[in-house]
Subunit: 373 residues, 2 copies
């Protein structure tokens, strides 16, 4: 088996490069698409993680026609690549009314509202029909209407239903609190809690005469949930690559990780048991995970095995990042094998933020997969 | 005086945008250039912070002809924009020998070495003369030869001096430990310690017959030091913009900050004293500073005053970032004045990492200043 460094050099890598295990990414996509199909619910994957037209095609192959993005510019990019049904799952930025109208005139556009101020701004500016989802805060406390304030929710739905071009579609939530879970059981609990809270709102709205779909979004819930009973739509995004954070909270297995970063070694320090790579905050992002010991970590070394992303060295963590330097603690046996000029692979903490730092992915068979610029 | 939101809207801003106070940046540049000129030392500013050909011209106006960058690709960009004397202040990535030779054939190139392995790789590959700086670790423990290992340092200098095309120029250090200082006095102490350590190496090398310059690099030391006695060259970078981290450690005043991020408000939450902006980890970076209370903060709201970056609201910190959302704690009086659709300004924690996320800067007079892509 070719050593990892030799394999990466054979791909022509000389600088920090985002490495994609395309076989694994396609498996992750197929698995989630099948899970949604079996549950007979709509799969509207979030494309903010990969932001790539080519990876979008892999979803099309699995029958996906509806997608989620997090900005109007990202929606525009995917419209240019043929997508016709897009929800922008971010509270409407009313300063972009021109972009909203342009998109709404071209495709089936879904937007997210949560306040009277936003509905009023849409009322003043919107010129084409849009599907409107009401965002609900089911416990994450980032954005959305607090789930148990039924009066306010019903009043907003009544108001937006009276505005021309605004088509109330349903309620939508991001159960981001699952990212702080530490086991599959805890994710399961949070998923059930979210589903119950969303259904209580749906009941209230249906009693008032409104038909109302339920859309949920986070990768941990979608990865761990069994049947999606009572749910109409799921919008996971991170699952296409997964990452160390998803593994740490119990949302994936190590063999499901599909993204890593190749970094040249520029220094070896036996006296302090460390190596330094060309690969810093601008190549990995400063997102850290905190190990049970309390140590903050920015990634771990990973091997290539049989031409695929393989074993993760949890005894070789990236413990510090500056702009372009990464410092990695390595055990003595590993340190003796590493030399300046080798290329190592780092499994990142948060694949969405890491991918965002690159103009393209390089697959393990040497293909370039472009991203939005 | 026009309110901040109205001012930013008058610039045509609709999405997260890097805002540059060009007047302040040029003052920061002039101030540091004059300080170096008065000390009669070489000013070789680090361009990794701004990575902009136009901002480079502002340095040229102040008489700067020598610069520092952190990668060969960044060097290539500035060569294309007319720069002829560039040090790549990052341990040589020997995988990029082609780029090194191309640059060395075009300009006066300086590189950084710290190991026999790197010198051997250069010996095998280098085809044109390069200036070689030996990197010294004066206490930061990231890269470089440990400062008090004089035997090893002398032996490496002897070795590299025997290699064709490698021209030993001097010793170089980055006193990154100043970033953990908490006062000007502490920065002063670390600067003096570094200078003493570098001079002890210089003495040893001069006794052995080598002429040896001393190059130091960090913005805190360069901002706080008085005279630069015994130093030949300074390479600060961050001072062009400064940031909240520099202010926190005592390296600048609030009125010297020259970079901020404009973000549309998408949610207002009186019940929890927060607003949410379109502006997340991909617009600010996840770099945090820890306040004395122990709270991690990703930036603070800032005002525009008289068409310039103005007052910083230290009672309005960005307390959480996800990919595209920023959550800001705001005091009640401020919260009552903010509405959905306003544009607020955020003073970032680490300007280098924030600037890296944008393709251009927008000045307060509405000009676009491009960056490397």
């Amino acid at each position: 088996m070719m050593p990892t460094s030799a394999f990466l050099q054979s791909l022509g890598i000389t600088r920090p490069t985002a490495i994609l295990d395309a076989v694994q990414a396609r498996q992750n996509i197929r698995h989630m698409a099948q899970k949604a199909a079996q549950a007979n619910i709509r799969f509207r994957p979030h494309f903010k993680t990969h932001q790539s037209a080519e990876i979008g095609q892999w979803f099309q192959t699995e029958g996906v026609t509806t997608i989620t993005v997090s900005s109007f510019s990202m929606a525009h990019y995917f419209v240019e690549h043929g997508w016709q049904d897009i929800t922008v799952a971010f509270p409407v930025n009313v300063r972009e009314m021109d972009a909203i109208n342009r998109l709404a005139s071209q495709i089936q556009l879904g937007v997210l509202v949560e306040s009277l101020a936003t509905i009023d701004a849409l009322q003043r500016g919107i010129q084409h029909p849009v599907q409107v989802w009401l965002e609900i805060d089911t416990g994450y406390h980032r954005t959305g209407l607090v789930w148990d304030d039924g009066d306010r929710i019903l009043s907003l739905v009544r108001h937006l239903d009276s505005v021309e071009h605004l088509e109330f579609t349903g309620i939508l939530t991001h159960t981001g609190q699952t990212y702080y879970a530490r086991s599959r059981a805890e994710i399961q609990y949070l998923y059930q809690e979210t589903t119950g809270r969303m259904q209580s709102i749906q009941d209230r709205l249906q009693q008032a005469g409104f038909s109302c779909q339920i859309s949920i979004g986070d990768t941990p819930s979608c990865a761990v949930a069994g049947s999606f009973a009572g749910i109409d739509e799921i919008r996971p995004g991170n699952f296409v690559f997964y990452d160390q954070m998803m593994y740490q909270i119990g949302a994936c297995r190590p063999d499901q990780l599909a993204l890593a970063v190749a970094c040249p070694v520029v220094g070896v320090y036996p006296e302090r048991g460390q190596i330094v790579v060309y690969g810093g905050a601008v190549h990995l992002s400063k997102e850290a995970l905190v190990e049970t010991s309390g140590r903050a970590v920015f990634g771990y070394l990973q091997e290539i095995e049989n031409g695929r992303l393989g074993r993760i060295a949890y005894d070789a963590p990236v413990i510090s990042l500056s702009q372009e330097h990464g410092i990695i603690d390595v055990p003595p046996a590993m340190e003796r094998k590493v030399t300046v000029g080798d290329i190592v692979l780092i499994s990142p903490v948060h694949s969405c933020l890491t991918a965002n730092l690159y103009p393209f992915y390089l697959t393990l068979t040497g293909e370039n997969i472009s991203r939005i610029r």
